[in-house]
Symmetry: C2
Subunit: 278 residues, 2 copies
């Protein structure tokens, strides 16, 4: 017996498409309906086998027992009330938004069976063309239940991500957004700023160091503008720390303080090695 | 006939060791002498076949027709006068230091046949243990001749790097240091600062984005402190630009200016895609 009768995936890009492929591979649903603003994405997703049927209209989600919102954060919030009119109260609802506090606040007020998900498995690549059934294998998926989130719903969503090969961790939405502001959002801001600062005419001298350090700056700008704005307070605090560390390095260089500079760099290198050994 | 009779490599770490292995592989020298402060590095280099003989004393370099200084920048400058007493005026001398203006100024005053090299082929890994004969294959090597640098010497050093599989570009030391302050030094500063800013207890939530963005922050702190101080003026200017870009992103986030923020990010993403397509 399948875990779900009908799964509806709203947004069939890299993440939505990969979820469809993973559900199909594991035979977790009898049918998958996909929704997108773009007809081309729907036909690509269908051709790839990520969805069984697709539509630009939300009506196609009727009868779903699981809805997965896989659009940028602000679109998740925009679509939620429209989706609520189309599904039963029993329908399990999750999203894969990159920030959770605001989304949880809104969606938990709209859906009785809502639970936030955040699979840490993105990429600077986008679109269903890059979707893969094994995108989540070995990755981390954070679930953000609230006090009153239905226990059975949590177990079912946990099982879903685990069957995709992800490790599941539960955090409060507040903890999630604080942690992600550092490990993901600040890293993107550093990468965007760095590539912006390097004159394009010097690119031909770039080695793998610059390329790796800025890889994630090729990410979609609209999506990341949304993420940064939906986690504003945490990100501004994290930026304070980054700017403080830059200032300390600047000061040591300006003062020709080799000892102080080496100490700052050594501390950083030690942390980076600890990250490698995790 | 070999290109060189006796090559002396001062510093048998990742770069010095890889040069030894590449010379051996291409049979470009009759013999290679290695110098290091550490006996263990010398025996490891010998065992690996990167050098034929090794010593902690510079005396071993006598009779060399090519000397390659492969130590950190400040050690290159320290050792140069001692080396000058041990080799003939005809001896070709090069170094692999990461900054060139200061090194060129000092070494061209000491050695009649000096030409600066900078192979852009390092790694955050270090030591002869990680040395490989093909480290330079497909990489870029910048040579920094001055007006009066001997033409035959330039051709010989060019040929050496080309036979290692590197593409060779000639730049003035001033241009080199300006360009490298952006494509290499600023990237390292961004990576060191970013990892310093992220609380260690959040590392278990790090995905490949943070790891790639900070990979080069695992680099050797003493070496990089030297590089930053020997290219101070350029680096402080490059940092101004990075800090300016960070401020612009901060301001757009603080003002909730989604349009302005997306425009900044899009410009950066476009640059990063241009870098990928080079």
């Amino acid at each position: 017996m399948s875990m779900f009768r009908k799964v509806a995936i709203i947004g069939v890009g890299l993440i939505g498409g990969s979820i469809g492929l993973a559900i199909k591979k594991k035979k977790l649903a009898k049918t998958i309906a996909g929704v997108s603003r773009h007809k081309e994405s729907l036909s690509a997703a269908k051709k790839k086998g990520a969805i069984d049927s697709g539509s630009c209209s939300l009506d196609i989600i009727k009868g779903a027992d699981l809805v997965i919102l896989a659009t940028p954060v602000n679109t998740i919030i925009e679509l939620a009330p429209k989706i609520a009119c189309l599904v039963s109260k029993d329908c399990l609802v999750t999203d894969v938004g990159s920030t959770k506090e605001e989304v949880n606040k809104r969606l938990s007020g709209i859906f009785p069976n809502y639970l936030g998900s955040h699979p840490l498995a993105g990429s600077e690549k986008r679109g269903v063309a890059n979707a893969r059934a094994d995108l989540f294998r070995g990755s981390l998926c954070i679930l953000t239940p609230l006090q009153n989130t239905n226990r059975r719903g949590i177990e079912k969503i946990k099982l879903l991500w685990r069957s995709f090969g992800a490790r599941v961790i539960l955090l409060s939405p507040v903890e999630h957004d604080k942690i992600l502001s550092f490990v993901s959002h600040l890293a993107h801001i550093a990468a965007f700023s760095l590539i912006a600062a390097v004159p394009g005419e010097y690119f031909k001298f770039a080695s793998s160091g610059l390329k790796d350090t800025t890889r994630i700056a090729a990410s979609e700008s609209e999506l990341w503008a949304d993420i940064f704005l939906s986690n504003r307070r945490n990100i501004l605090e994290a930026m304070n720390l980054l700017e403080g560390d830059l200032s300390r390095i600047r000061e040591a260089i300006a003062k020709k303080d080799k000892r102080g500079l080496a100490a700052i760099l050594q501390h950083a290198a030690k942390k980076r090695k600890a990250l490698a050994n995790l």
